[in-house]
Symmetry: C2
Subunit: 578 residues, 2 copies
């Protein structure tokens, strides 16, 4: 990734591999050898907005390069440890603090701040690395019978404190040994996997399915969250995640065909037919249960043909946010099919992207201004298509027609290509920025079209109430009835308490504005105080009834997850829907 | 509908309006003034296959023209009747046997046989006709508090004994007064209705939405079950129904955006955003609950633009079932979009249709034979498209290409037009045939592509084990991963017990073959013994936990519905998935 030196002063960006067993090696995003430093344009912008100078970028802080050398005692009784070891085998467990810390924290900014400050808490007593479904079933049964808290770690990219072991006990690290493809079904166009398989490993096998499995086609699973490289299939499913291409492929709940769970009361194996009328959907009861009902073991996903050559790229600039929003809504309601990537940046994000991609100050920028596309007003739409060639062409043709109608100026596919380059690598920049005290964090929500502007305005207003803060947002993951609204805030901040208050404030505003508090990040323990306020107390009771049925001893992901065992005083009710 | 006299002997088909208050007026399908007599071709075919003669069609039997004059006593205490009357008002209740019988029976063959034989059982004590949501909420609360069984009647076309009042008590007839459109949302493309609104009333308003509501477009809800004319929106939702155009529009669970229920523990109002990640889906918990958790009051459906001119019709003849099945599967997996109607008849149904549509014996038929499309081997595919024009064209282009590849010969759109004519009127024929002792009944199931032929063969084999029986089937409601398999059997039969044994046998075979026992008819009380065997005992426990939460007194649609309160000995386990 980017290593070009700046023309001006260049901060001493940390570009080395984090030391083995260090705090940084845990919180650092992604590939241990990769990093991404902001381009000089962005660095300049950041200094300008935050009123910082090169001086502020001379000293790095709280890098967490030190080894995790504290010893957190194991509280679990030896007889339990012996019993669990007997299930997974001598090779497949760990008791050292580093391995335990590794599976407890995810990728929330709160996790990063704690690790930079060497705050170690909520560790499991033991980490197990099961190799098959039967081992997981035995572990679940054992933990329930002996009332031992049980957590699951997949790819480690949770931004909801989803895997954090509030009650200690056992954590299953599924990534290590529980990551095989069980079956590629060429007739049904499905793949069945062990839930710990990571996105890229699965995608690589599918893209080469003809060779790997002798299938008729090469396939894709169509699910590419920004965390793609560091997320597991199981994590996608139990949190109800979404990939960036979901406007065409659907969210993970649209991609899942059927699932198998190990729960304390036994196994749940859902209906494998694409649709049925046999009562409430067990698939939809289990998806989104975030490890509180049981452990997802096997999952079958729908497959799509791998046709990257059908990516027809496009980008359009609109004069204002209202026109742009109307255009994308009309596209989504046009019934001509859907683009795959379809991403509309608001005024502030557009401004930022123009600078990041080096368009500001160029002849193109000048031309835009002449034609009435003004700074801090204009909005950028980008995307590409997926599917059969004729389908893709028809989508593009209609998108172009509608965009033109609403004053969209085509910038060709080049802007989309620029965006694609940063698609999975942008998160790397977060660590480098934070080394100098600048925090980049994200929040997202689900909205209907008729409520979108209210949510957008109210959240931005709150975020901007903090001085020197960039708040950029985009609409992505679109549907005919609404979309995901995604907020990224960037601000100099290094106090944990200050962060918590600010973060909580954003969530309050999201909920109060009428949006769903998550479209694809999930609830975990971080968002748990808000869920009852959103879904209502009666619906919450239904989830608790299910929890009590599947997990009568309360051992599955306990400690507030999804609000199921949250103390009354921690609940937040902002929309009166109790 | 058809009234042309035959060239040969013409049976004395019953074509009059059923007498007021008669048994026939209850069981008769649809419009009181409409009927459909088989064409002479079909009449000849029926005689040929069933080895019947004109003699057998000289005397009609068990027409049920007599008035329902028995008095079934009202067992509900007067204080409860008074309290319920006070909720709905003096005009909005009924205690007479006829009104009570009307809401208790649906359209299963078992219902028809009972009414023809004047078997009256399982009536509610009182029928209420609520006018708004608040009344329904009060009734649910009152019934739960006083442990009075509560049933709901919508359109009356249940084929699962769904609304039958096994425990007597109260039945809400929602069709009469609870049938208004609450809101058409032109921004989100949604409509919110009271659940008792009937399909055609809603569709008519939507098709004229520009005029009726001042919207930008005229709309359609895209949901057209064969029972369209006599089914309510609420019925579609709580049973997880499907329309004939579902291959494009989706099943009702794909069309529903959000819902509101009155349950004994209070109201449930689901998330109105198109997708979210806030735990298990409450929508999918409530859809398919068939009145056992609560009463669906308001429901919001996604809308589509009304573009009937974009119906591009097609039909193809294939040489055999294997090629035809492969072709439609490849279409569904082609990622070029989906046709709206997409219906593949098997060998026997094709043979029947060729005769019904008068193709047998024509030059077209002769040409088919010359080209190798043989009787009892060839299979007919028909359909049309929906959506934006370019999308429709691209779908048709790809369907044509794939069909050609598998030996499909285009028969143009004429065959589809013939099918369309009978689309909603064919059910009328059932009563006229049964007047002469010939039973026409249907069963359907959900299958994956890789299991389809097994299911098809095993069910047909069982059905044919009864002599003189026609069994025709088709694949409709298709998906990339599988489809609905629909069976129609026609056989001379008038003994109820004989019918029950035969019907039960078909269900056993469906379940044993690995199919889901319903794709869109639902479970009700008729299919209830099989559900636990299909979804498994652990999943069944989850549904029972929900039931117990929402309806602790067990007053909502009690008497076996969905297997929730079914005695152990009535359960059927054929696939070992306990």
């Amino acid at each position: 990734m980017s290593t070009k030196p700046y023309k001006g002063f260049s901060p001493d960006w940390f570009t080395e591999r984090a030391p083995e067993k260090s705090y940084r090696s845990i919180y650092k995003w992604g590939d241990p050898n990769a990093y991404k430093i902001p381009r000089e344009r962005l660095y300049t912008l950041v200094k300008e907005i935050f009123e910082m100078t090169d001086e502020d970028f001379k000293e790095r802080r709280e890098l967490g390069l030190e080894e995790v050398d504290i010893e957190v005692p194991v509280a679990l009784a030896q007889k339990h440890i012996d019993a669990l070891k007997a299930i997974v085998g001598e090779e497949n467990y760990a008791l050292d603090t580093y391995s335990r810390l590794q599976v407890a924290y995810g990728q929330t900014m709160y996790d990063l701040m704690r690790l930079r400050k060497k705050i170690v808490e909520n560790l499991p007593d033991i980490v197990l690395y099961p190799t098959d479904k039967e081992q997981i079933e035995k572990i679940v049964e054992y933990c329930s019978n002996n009332e031992i808290p049980l957590y699951v770690y997949g790819g480690g990219s949770s931004v909801t404190r989803g895997a954090e072991c509030f009650k200690n006990g056992v954590s299953l690290n599924l990534q290590k040994n529980f990551n095989k493809v069980i079956e590629v079904n060429d007739v049904n166009h499905t793949v069945t996997v062990q839930s710990g398989i990571m996105g890229p490993a699965l995608e690589k096998l599918l893209n080469n399915a003809k060779e790997e499995y002798g299938t008729r086609y090469n396939y894709t699973c169509g699910h590419f969250p920004q965390s793609f490289e560091y997320s597991s299939v199981g994590g996608w499913v139990v949190t109800r995640g979404a990939g960036q291409n979901s406007t065409y492929y659907g969210k993970i709940e649209d991609i899942v065909l059927c699932q198998e769970y190990a729960t304390p009361i036994g196994n749940i194996s859902t209906d494998r037919t694409p649709r049925s009328a046999c009562g409430p959907s067990m698939d939809h009861i289990m998806m989104g249960s975030e490890g509180t009902f049981g452990v997802l073991t096997h999952v079958t996903l729908r497959l799509f043909k791998y046709n990257p050559k059908n990516h027809l790229k496009f980008s359009f600039m609109f004069k204002n946010w209202d026109d742009a929003r109307t255009a994308v809504r009309e596209c989504m309601q046009g019934e001509f099919g859907f683009p795959s990537i379809f991403r509309l940046s608001d005024q502030e994000e557009t401004q930022m992207m123009m600078r990041m991609y080096g368009i500001s100050g160029t002849p193109l920028d000048a031309m835009l201004k002449v034609r009435g596309y003004k700074d801090y007003e204009k909005c950028l739409l980008l995307g590409f298509t997926d599917g059969e060639r004729g389908y893709c062409k028809n989508v593009l043709k209609n998108v172009k027609k509608i965009c033109k109608k609403y004053g969209g100026m085509s910038l060709t596919g080049i802007v989309t290509t620029s965006w694609e380059h940063g698609r999975f690598s942008d998160p790397y920049m977060r660590d480098n920025m934070q080394d100098f005290g600048v925090v980049i964090d994200t929040l997202e929500c689900a909205v209907n079209w008729d409520n979108m502007e209210k949510v957008h305005q109210e959240v931005r207003e709150y975020c901007h109430s903090r001085p020197k803060t960039i708040v950029i947002s985009h609409i992505s993951h679109m549907y005919p009835q609404g979309a995901n609204l995604y907020f990224i805030f960037i601000t100099p901040m290094d106090d944990i308490e200050e962060f918590k208050v600010y973060h909580r404030g954003i969530l309050d505003v999201i909920q109060h504005s009428g949006a769903a508090i998550s479209h694809h990040h999930g609830i975990g323990k971080l968002f748990a105080p808000w869920i009852e306020g959103y879904i209502g107390t009666n619906a919450m009771g239904a989830l608790k009834a299910l929890k009590n049925y599947f997990d009568p001893k309360g051992v599955m992901n306990p400690g507030g997850t999804m609000g199921l065992d949250l103390p009354e005083e921690e609940k937040v009710f902002t929309n009166g829907k109790k």
